[in-house]
């Protein structure tokens, strides 16, 4: 496991965050395809991200962070994901849990964990379980002991980012295993006795996210590491929308990558189709037509991601039922459109390049595998339900940390 050694740089404003992201992205693009093909986890790259200070940009100003706008954070994710969508996804849950701290942690916890974050000591995640009827039934053992400590016992899956992270936050319900108590977030040090991280992720896409199995064998943590996440949903919040917003930015980044790499291959590899009677494939009007359609899709996705960022910022600035509903629906729209853009562009781009696009060593297909895998995180069809209910009946999306 790679751990960031020296304390990280501290980024001070939005412009710096965007510039740092661009700079990092330019170094990640080259190795993306190889890492995917050989399934090499991006340990060095994530260490660079941590050292760059990018993982601290949402820490509030009073705790020394840049507190960048949500719009900026989204652009950072689009940029990273367009360079390497696994690298783009790895910090997703990190920012999600930084946001959990903002909403539900006490002042001491905030001070402690924000300092960790600013020092580059970032968060993986262990959220998902198997076997529950739906994805929100958390069954892992999570019991408060008489001495105030908590014991965690059980297995989590799809622990994106855990192989890289000093901290592994989990979601659990209090009470004994099997009971449906109240939702808590608990920060587990990756080095705690009883924690095992196995990189057994076999997804067809997002292959280097380190989304493996995490087992907790009677792991003990102090009460200070436990945050009452259930409180988040007691009031109006933009919390679920925030997590989803980052997913949308990742999908948009994948769409950008597929369009970019496809364009490059059209210019450098594709042969003109004989019926087009043109010298270069890029001059074929039917090809240009379809490339235009795909570009348009990417534009719509990026525009909705930006508008969702604005809506989240507006809600954060002036939180009430209406602004949070607006933000939640704007995020749902961005998710739905970025899904379509990523999946469609990553598949249709092949048609414009021709037979050579399918050569395995080009590995152009990683974008489709990444898109198809990541977009399924939660179903597009339910995004549309939330949009439709809001637009039709002004029913706001539910508060559950997912939408």
């Amino acid at each position: 496991m790679t751990r960031s050694a020296a304390p990280a740089h501290v980024i001070t404003d939005d412009a710096e965050a965007l510039a740092v992201a661009e700079k990092l992205a330019s170094t990640f693009g080259d190795g993306d395809s190889r890492r995917d093909a050989d399934r090499l986890l991006p340990h060095d790259e994530i260490a660079s991200v941590a050292a760059s200070g990018l993982l601290g940009i949402t820490v509030p100003r009073e705790f020394g962070g840049a507190d960048v706008s949500t719009r900026t954070l989204g652009e950072v994710f689009v940029t990273l994901a367009a360079a390497d969508s696994s690298i783009g996804q790895i910090p997703q849950n990190h920012f999600f849990f930084v946001d959990v701290l903002r909403h539900a942690a006490n002042a001491a916890q905030q001070a402690f964990f924000y300092r960790e974050v600013l020092q580059g000591r970032h968060f993986g995640n262990a959220l998902s379980e198997r076997g529950g009827r739906t994805a929100m039934d958390f069954q892992i053992g999570f019991a408060r002991q008489d001495d105030g400590t908590w014991v965690i016992d059980g297995t989590k899956y799809y622990g994106t980012g855990t192989p890289f992270a000093p901290w592994i936050p989990i979601y659990a319900n209090d009470g004994t295993a099997g009971s449906a108590g109240r939702l808590h977030a608990a920060w587990v040090p990756a080095t705690a006795p009883g924690v095992t991280v196995v990189d057994d992720w076999v997804g067809m896409g997002q292959r280097t996210t380190g989304s493996g199995t995490v087992t907790f064998d009677q792991v003990s943590i102090p009460d200070e590491y436990v945050v009452p996440a259930w409180r988040i949903f007691e009031t109006t919040e933009t919390f679920g929308a925030f997590g989803n917003y980052i997913h949308a930015a990742i999908d948009a980044g994948i769409a950008v990558a597929a369009l970019r790499d496809g364009g490059e291959l059209i210019r450098t590899l594709a042969r003109p189709w004989w019926e087009a009677e043109v010298e270069h494939a890029a001059d074929d009007p039917l090809l240009v037509q379809q490339f235009g359609e795909l570009s348009l899709l990417v534009r719509t996705a990026r525009a909705l991601v930006r508008e969702a960022g604005d809506a989240l910022d507006a809600a954060r600035a002036n939180l009430d039922e209406t602004t949070s509903a607006h933000a939640s629906v704007a995020v749902a729209a961005a998710r739905a459109q970025a899904d379509t853009a990523a999946v469609t562009v990553a598949s249709e781009i092949f048609e414009l390049i021709g037979t050579r696009a399918a050569a395995n060593d080009l590995n152009l297909h990683r974008h489709w595998r990444n898109a198809r895998t990541h977009t399924l995180h939660d179903p597009r069809r339910w995004k549309l339900q939330h949009i439709g209910r809001w637009e039709l009946s002004r029913i706001a999306p539910p508060r559950n940390g997912i939408v």
Partner: protein, 397 residues
Amino acid sequence: MSDNAHDHWIAVARTVAATLAVDAVERDRANAQPVAEIRLLRESGLLSLLVPVEHGGHGQSWRTGLEAVRVIAGADGSIGQLLGYHFVNLSNVWLAGSPEVQEDLGRRTAENGWFWGDSVNPVEADLVLTPRGDDPAVSGYVLDGTKTFSTGASVADAIIATGTVTTTGEPLLVAILPQQGGVTFGGDWDNLGQRLSASGSATFAAAPVPPEHVVGSLAAEHTRPVASVITPAIQAVFGNLYLGIAEGALAAARDYTTSSSRPWALSGIEAATQEPYVLATYGGLAARLDAVAALADRVGDRIDAAVARGADLSWDERGELAVAVARLKVVSTEVALDVTTAVYEVTGARATSNHYGFDRFWRNVRTHTLHDPVAYKRREVGEHYVSGTYPPFTLYT
């Protein structure tokens, strides 16, 4: 279509498909030569399906053959492709060959269960046929050169190839028997999809072409409309291939949905099989597949009708057939790309595990549909619809 022979052979194809389905994911990953798969086809009798009864074959129709391709492709796109290409490669013997060629190569194919590959990629330089003496009608030729995308050649008993005669410039269609030497294979097929289609390069070095293996001439003046039915036939194979893969993808998704899918957390529904949007998505895709299947069957009948016209087939009739097949190509491409991408929407995130390998359907369709751009098939169909013109005879149209 409900005659007994047709139903029998479709049942045979289904049995083969069921065998192929068992380890389709593992075989796709291994990217090996499809030797065992060709043996399976041979033992099933499908390789002689279209060989006329008088030459020892089963004498079935293109419609039946194409439906068999579709059934096999549903389980394994590569093997569906190999079977379909085999039908087309072999049909050159009847469409372009003399009665002697038909009797000779046809009978040997049926008797030995030969599998036919090809080496004809039209966008590359032609292979070269050098006469072996003053009168190649007596002494034959040798074939030299390399072609990529020589589908099935490396596992073939016979290879159909096109070469240009050095002395006359005439393009000939010839049969190469690899067991007679002079052929090596690049083993360089490692593509996104159709990974078991053995579509690597073939190199010919003085490969013998005895006069009885000269199938026919491709020179325009010798080309009769019926001989050029070969291009619509291969394009019809494509259409059935895409349709078959899509049918296979949707069926695999259904199996997953009914056995493994969880309802979405927020749905308030007991089982994924009751979620209305999931059902509507399946229904929309199944309806489109049904329409394309109806067209595929009709196109199969039209190929049979064109072949039956024999020497009487006119260029206009050939053109009508080419457009009909082009229409099938367009809609089968569209539905196959849509279905193989959309199935994930109704299976969910866990179905992306490589354990299931559902992506092979998309990879197979995505790879093969790049053969020639569907946008130009649309244009051909549109030109015919608007102006009544037929696409010219090429190896793509």
